[in-house]
Symmetry: C2
Subunit: 315 residues, 2 copies
């Protein structure tokens, strides 16, 4: 058995441990097989994480396992989909079984937390890269897209922003102060908002997960929906356990993986209280285009939204 | 617009041009959406190609586009699935729009040839790597697995083997002789056997596509099915337009992407003539384990089948 066969074998217990009802056939054949319940659609997204680009070289492999699956599942949450299974294409410079064992432990923890099963994969030799495709289901026609925001809708986010950006300065610190633990937790241990996404099906007019920063990602909704928006910066949540991210970090920092959603005021009122209370309203959709910050004193500042063809996502 | 946004935009016409009925939502949102017809299952496989490992560095990008999609779709053919759509995670060292335009042209040609649509993707900066996930459908329960081979079944292949291995010596030749054109075509322009796979649903007892070599891949069927097999080397087809691959290349060479299938003799007789004639019977499944070559003079040679945990495929 070659060294890479041994590495592959480390994933087998993970696939066994994380079975999901929808997965008819898991790893080990030419393809895997998923059954999509009648009246439902398959929702899927592929994401690549490159060492030194999307995570630090030398990053802890157990944290990498959690983080890479969480980041991918966050795209399912943004569509309101129920996670079912994922595939993993792992490219490794060498067959380091300790490193892979730790990666698998992080993946396992995240698999159980999000209710998603490993259905297949491919392991090759090369520069360290992880590509995950996550697959979920939604009732037919109920996936939340980016393109449904309408003038008069509220803009809301699912939690504090800027923590992951604020953590960047502390990633290499050997003994970071307790005050920045909330930032670091956000960077290392993002939580995709799947339960919220599910509640927002048929309620939110548009949704996106905040991976590139609030301004950039809300900008994607505005562009796809052909509308503009006004934000009140004082309402953007950025409190991480008593330590605040800066407004710049909250507006422009990436990697937070909260949801940014738009919904009609009446739709917000129809949500169960515990769901509505998990949303912070930070602004309002308006006709036209562009994004404006409305300060408490009424001064309005036009914000440059990254232009663009975002038909093929990534960064 | 950043340089990578421009690169992403190059894929948009490809997604537009290759729409498939089953793709409800293509690239541009957090996720894509596929509808799986009632009574069908989703069949999917993920594959990574790393520059310098799975294709030569400096390989022609248009050929790379065809080859990477063909290789991936071949896994669908081996399950008897109908191709529907694929996602592409592309990692590029630099935003070279000429290179990407050529890649897209190769992908487009293959997309049309195999009837498969680009449904989503991710483009990132890093060492040159392509990861493709292909997705297809089969009527419920009819996917052909590796595990159904039974003693008495015939072993057959869908075409000549060893050509891609024989081509390796000529890949860098500036003016290769006409006699090796068949080898080179096999390497650069593999043809997944989708139509054959479809005919073999409910007929073949097991199938695999030959990516690692006949001995290794038939070995995967034998292991998954807990059986052995005898091959007659004289019957293994290896004629590429009048030039023959060596027996070693035909037995051990990879990258041919023909199908290797097992089926009962009566099942072969039930196939339409034009389908049956596309199969070459090369041996027989027997009880026990292991693979034996039976020479014309009756001498039997035991072949070492690569051992292994192949629960997570790759090489």
């Amino acid at each position: 058995m070659g060294e890479f066969e041994l590495i592959r074998a480390l994933f087998h217990p993970l696939a066994e441990a994380t079975r999901q009802h929808g997965v008819v056939l898991g790893p080990g054949d030419d393809c895997a097989i998923q059954r999509v319940p009648q009246g439902h659609e398959l929702v899927f997204s592929i994401d690549t994480l490159v060492a030194g680009v999307h995570f630090p070289s030398g990053y802890d492999p157990a944290q990498l396992g959690w983080r890479s699956l969480a980041v991918a599942v966050s795209d399912l949450a943004a569509m309101g989909a129920d996670p079912v299974c994922y595939t993993l294409a792992l490219t490794l410079p060498e067959a380091d079984s300790d490193w892979v064992t730790a990666l698998v432990s992080g993946l396992r923890e995240a698999s159980f937390a999000f209710g998603i099963a490993l259905a297949g994969g491919d392991i090759t030799r090369g520069p360290l890269t992880l590509t995950l495709q996550v697959q979920g289901t939604v009732p037919e026609g109920q996936a939340i897209r980016r393109s449904g925001a309408r003038p008069g809708d509220l803009v809301a986010v699912s939690g504090p922003l800027g923590g992951a950006a604020a953590a960047l300065a502390w990633l290499d610190a050997t003994d970071p102060p307790a005050s920045v633990e909330g930032f670091l937790a956000r960077y290392h241990h993002p939580m995709p908002r799947c339960a919220l996404g599910r509640h927002l099906r048929g309620v939110a007019s548009a949704a996106i997960d905040i991976s590139d920063g609030l301004v950039a990602d809300l900008g994607h909704i505005l562009e796809a929906s052909s509308v503009g928006a006004e934000l009140e910066p004082g309402r953007v949540p950025r409190d991480f356990g008593g330590t605040w991210a800066s407004l710049d970090q909250a507006l422009y920092g990436g990697d937070d993986y909260e949801l940014c959603v738009t919904l009609a005021p009446a739709a917000l009122d129809r949500l169960p209280g515990h769901v509505a209370s998990s949303l912070d309203v930070i602004g309002r959709v308006c006709a036209g285009s562009g994004l404006r910050l409305v300060q408490a004193d009424g001064i309005i500042e036009e914000i440059a939204v990254p232009a663009g063809y975002d038909h093929f996502k990534g960064r």
